[in-house]
Point group: C2
Chain length 337, copies 2
């Protein structure tokens, strides 16, 4: 089968930053499905791994990354029970295994959902990784309860990005929260409002911007952009007993003490945790993906797709990475095979 | 009225580390009760504030600390509705106001509970601050749900201390958790078992000790002793998607990143947050204290009192501080007026 990967971490402009190659089509065992991929999507994790995984070495076999796919079940491992051959599925995947930048992929059925029926293939491929991340942030980390949390506020840092776009919708439509998103360019601001944000504020002078809209402090903060850069501001604008979730990282140690007087809670959200550690509740990702598919099929939330590149080629994958690396993309970019 | 306080931060062995003085009996307004105090208890926060609040200055009026009391309602502010004159009450208090080291104290009724009826005055005075801290840690920060969390494990660092002793009981009896407490001296170990701990492990070689009892990783960790000292160990022994609560502090910034792969949650718990910020849910402390009183009255949990000093004197307050500063006290020390 055809796959695209890299042997060395190179700038995306370099010829060999991605290369096409052939490897054997794998055979599913245990909980694995063999899926014939029809579309993939690109996330920031892709370029971060491409830039770092083979920095000082040259790999013998090219590394296959990519963690977002729509595909068709081709064959089944002996322990599978949730899907049958021919099912249309969508999933993000497991960072410890080969990714979806290939014609076929093995994937544990416990982290796979049924593709939303009413969405096109690219619309569906835009969702899994960002949908899981946003959903887990709100409902597994903060444990937002739409009844108990009525009238509470959430600030979403980087509202127009992939995760931000779906988080705005889930926070508003399912969490019943007042949603404030950050964005600065006119098209990003418009996008956040289209996603359902109650307020969009500029991330420069965040404190003043929040005061202007009458929400100088918020109950929840979702950081999808830069934890370290926002740390001091976060400590000021979080309400007592508030909850912060971050998917980014910090290069330096952080002064946790500044959150103490307010009894603040901080959670990391990493969509890969459940599959990396095969947690007892790994199947929750199967359930979340099916739940998100229902919300999409019922029109309660919508796909965050903005760009579709046609054809599974090195050129398209390079283009998708280049766009992600710019940090300016709105919503999601998909490659349809 | 008589009060005991300090004008300067001095070692407890110094004559003037505490002084007795007279001030006017205050008059309650708004939500305040005027309470005639009959017993108080001492917590680590007391000596920390005594040691730091007047380090480089001499105060004009002595500072009254102490945040744990049993007393009788003597008169009522105009907004009060939860208590009547003559009610026996117990409470921890508000760190921004005068404490309970005095004959009378003003206290917001929204953070006051009815004294447990079946407990002696000293038994009841041992409870409020530690009870609120342990209860909020388990049920407001972690949001332990005895049904959902069945079979989950909690590690309590410093099980024999004031907060640890009540936390063991609440985690076991109300949270339905498997409780592992740390203690090293034979009498502390015995005390933790008496409080209901399923396992007591030595805090030296914590990792190996946990492996020995077949719980190399735990779902929840309550740190009641030294966050910074345990930080690296905590990161290893916490389960994926686990939750850590701390009431201590860290002098240095901490490497939060080491909790990321596991999507771990960290909460600060400060019992004073609700009163300091007059949060919307400030009355929750009234409810928690009443809930704890019911549990004590019904014999589901028991008082953590170990020492009662008779008489509200400078000597007894100094003795209680000296004991707390030793770091070796088991359970709680109370001064009965």
């Amino acid at each position: 089968m055809k796959a695209i990967g890299f042997k060395k971490s190179l700038p995306i402009t370099e010829k060999e930053s991605f290369i096409e190659f052939d490897i054997e089509k794998p055979i599913p065992m245990g909980y694995d499905l063999l899926v014939k991929i029809v579309a993939i999507s690109v996330n920031p994790v892709d370029f971060k791994i491409r830039q770092s995984a083979a920095k000082d070495i040259v790999l013998d076999t090219p590394k296959i990354i990519g963690w977002d796919a729509v595909g068709i079940v081709e064959s089944l491992g002996d322990k599978t029970s949730r899907f049958k051959v021919g099912d249309e599925v969508y999933y993000a995947g497991d960072i410890t295994r080969n990714g979806s930048n290939a014609e076929y992929q093995l994937i544990d059925e416990r982290i796979v959902g049924h593709k939303p029926k009413n969405l096109s293939i690219p619309e569906a491929a835009a969702i899994p990784l960002t949908g899981l991340t946003a959903y887990e942030s709100l409902f597994d980390r903060i444990k937002v309860d739409s009844e108990r949390d009525k009238g509470k506020t959430v600030l979403i840092l980087a509202g127009a990005g992939g995760v931000g776009s779906i988080a705005i919708q889930l926070a508003k439509k399912i969490g019943n929260l007042t949603v404030i998103a950050t964005a600065s360019r006119p098209d990003s601001v418009k996008w956040c409002k289209d996603m359902g944000a109650d307020y969009v504020v500029n991330h420069y002078n965040l404190k003043e911007e929040l005061e202007k809209i009458g929400h100088s402090q918020v109950n929840y903060i979702l950081d999808f952009v830069d934890l370290e850069g926002y740390w001091e501001t976060i400590a000021e604008i979080i309400k007592p007993q508030g909850h912060i979730v971050s998917i980014t990282a910090s290069s330096n140690p952080l002064n946790l003490n500044i959150l103490k007087a307010k009894s603040v809670t901080f959670s990391w959200e990493l969509m890969y945790t459940r599959s990396m550690y095969t947690t007892d509740d790994i199947e929750r990702q199967h359930e979340i993906l099916n739940q998100i598919a229902s919300l999409l099929d019922d029109g309660i939330i919508k796909s965050t797709l903005t760009t579709t590149l046609k054809g599974f080629t090195v050129e398209n994958l390079k283009e998708a990475h280049r766009m992600q690396e710019s940090g300016k993309t709105i919503g999601k970019t998909v490659i349809q095979f």
